[in-house]
């Protein structure tokens, strides 16, 4: 059964500059919604508005039928920013414990959850390493682990797999699919075409406008392209 989870219609301006123009989205559970678009097209701005960090200049965002921003709704969202937001002088574990208690993971479940998410991103052996010694990809994985910690109903991931090797990326996407099957809505931005193929639906963003929306197959048919990459290029990406 599909139910609407996010319903949004937003326009966003920074000063005079229009960054998002009348973007309308309806997202349901059990889906991985991919946002595709050239650099600077407004993907990050859009996902920030969806998870309540930023507010639209015009329009609205409602999540589970309630208007954003709302602390009760924010609790149910896991957000991973495009830039890693980690405390570098702390160890991976200390970061996880901190974010776990901030996002309300029950004390008795914390250790178990930390083990689970760290296993998923293949960082179990680096729990007690300081983040400042992590490689770029390791930081990315830790950020992803933190977003998953509190088992959110909505995952908003801004380029989650940048700098992660193909094998691990594959494994992470397998997890996304399992989460999707269990009813989670995943919103993900990406520049990687084989990831786009694995999304349930795609939204093409260009210059702040949502120019196409549909399953990967629909998008390919519409543009008469054989790959998403060709479709992306034919939209002037």
């Amino acid at each position: 059964m599909t139910t609407t989870i996010i319903d949004a219609n937003v326009t966003k301006r920074f000063g005079k500059k229009k960054v998002l123009e009348d973007v309308t989205l309806t997202l349901t559970n059990n889906e991985i919604f991919g946002l595709l678009g050239p650099s600077g097209s407004g993907k990050t701005t859009l996902v920030k508005i969806l998870c309540g960090i930023d507010v639209p200049t015009e329009g609205h965002v409602s999540v589970f039928g309630k208007k954003m921003p709302d602390l009760e709704l924010i609790k149910r969202i896991g957000y991973m920013a495009q830039a890693d937001a980690l405390y570098h002088e702390l160890t991976a574990k200390e970061n996880l414990v901190f974010f776990a208690s901030i996002s309300g993971v029950k004390r008795n479940k914390r250790a178990e959850r930390i083990q689970q998410v760290m296993k998923l991103v293949d960082l179990e052996s680096d729990l007690n390493t300081k983040v400042e010694t992590f490689s770029g990809g390791m930081k990315r994985r830790l950020s992803l682990a933190i977003a998953l910690l509190h088992e959110p109903d909505i995952l908003v991931l801004d380029e989650p797999t940048v700098g992660i090797d193909p094998a691990l990326r594959n494994k992470i996407w397998d997890t996304f699919e399992i989460l999707k099957e269990s009813g989670v809505l995943i919103v993900v931005t990406t520049h990687v075409m084989d990831e786009a193929e694995r999304c349930s639906r795609l939204g093409m963003v260009r210059d702040g406008q949502l120019i196409a929306i549909g399953t990967p197959d629909e998008i390919k048919t519409k543009t008469e392209a054989s790959t998403i990459e060709q479709a992306f290029l034919s939209y002037g990406g």
């Binding site: 937001a85 002088e89 901190f98 996002s103």
Partner: protein, 339 residues
């Protein structure tokens, strides 16, 4: 408890960053030690000129580290003090004695006055001693006098800087945005900072105060407990102001730019100079700065030996500053998330 989580994290960050921790404790100690040596260092070698001193007095004038030199009766006192290296001149005129101090170095003045008094009084009880200064006045401060101000100032300085920079980093490294994408409330974050830094600065303040009083031997008439309360209150106002101003800085360097603008001027108004002697264009600023009240309270306790009855208004005002800054901080975070 989300506040506790923030407190916990801040303390862990301190434990991992030994250098910052050392800076906050050792740097004030080092500077205070240096200043105490600068002010109270060597035994003084005094040179005092004598004019028309009765021989009954003069024959008894014999002291370590003081050279007494007889001068002619018609010596121009001011000119001699200005041009030669006399520290003071004692002149007798019709049974009256007059002590003219060179006066530019306050630490010497009191030593001379005590010296001369002890020299004259046993012999000539009838002679009154009047004291004049060529430069400065008797009210110029010595290390004992400015010591409490320095203790308050250094605590303010370092807490302001470190708290401001940590909060700034929270913004620049993206963790503030990440936190605001979590259900933490704005006040929980601010109070986490206040308590986390509060715990650390209590330890820092006690070490600095203990060191100043028992090792540097700063004058201490009142209760140590009050000194601790005052220094913690000073630290609290510094920390809340630092966090607030960090919102107006884009990077660490811009945070440091606040020091000459916001921190150093407070030092001038904190009793280093008498407020009456500061130009009217500026003196009204004094009562607007937290350190003004903190330093006054520290002096009340350390120099005048006073207690809660005298210092409570200062403490209330200091607390008021912190509460206002805390509320402004909670509002300032609205810029990042409206709820």
């Amino acid at each position: 408890m989300r506040v506790l989580a923030v407190v916990n994290r801040i303390l862990k960050q301190f434990l991992h960053d030994k250098r910052t921790m050392a800076l906050m404790i050792l740097a004030p100690i080092l500077v205070l030690t240096m200043l105490s040596l600068v002010f109270n260092g060597e035994e003084l070698e005094l040179k005092i000129g004598l004019i028309d001193v009765p021989s009954t007095v003069y024959t008894n004038m014999e002291q370590e580290n003081v050279a007494f030199v007889k001068l002619d009766s018609d010596t121009d006192v001011n000119e001699t003090l200005e041009q030669e290296d006399y520290d003071a001149i004692l002149a007798f005129e019709q049974g009256e004695s007059k002590l003219i101090l060179e006066g530019s170095d306050p630490s010497i003045n009191n030593v001379i006055i005590d010296n001369i008094k002890s020299e004259i009084s046993p012999n000539t009880t009838s002679v009154s001693l009047s004291v004049e200064h060529l430069y400065g006045s008797q009210d110029l401060t010595t290390f004992d006098n400015i010591g409490p101000v320095l203790v308050g100032f250094f605590i303010f300085f370092f807490v302001f800087l470190i708290a401001g920079v940590s909060f700034l980093r929270e913004r620049t490294q993206g963790t503030l945005e990440r936190l605001l994408a979590s259900p933490i409330k704005r006040w929980e974050l601010v109070m986490g900072y206040v308590i986390g830094f509060g715990v650390f600065t209590t330890i820092q303040s006690s070490i600095i105060a203990l060191y100043s009083i028992y090792v540097i031997d700063l004058m201490m008439e009142g209760s140590f407990f009050y000194v601790l309360i005052i220094t913690v209150m000073i630290a609290l106002s510094a920390l809340t102001l630092g966090i607030l101003l960090s919102a107006f800085a884009k990077n660490e360097l811009q945070m440091i730019q606040f020091i000459p603008l916001v921190v150093v001027p407070q030092f001038f108004f904190a009793g280093l100079f008498k407020l009456e002697t500061i130009s009217d264009y500026l003196s009204w600023l004094g009562p607007l700065t937290p350190l003004y009240y903190g330093a006054d309270a520290l002096r009340d306790v350390m120099i005048r030996g006073q207690g809660l009855i005298e210092i409570w208004t200062n403490l209330v005002v200091l607390g008021g500053f912190s509460i206002v800054f805390i509320i402004m901080n909670i509002f300032a975070l609205k810029k990042h998330r409206s709820i």
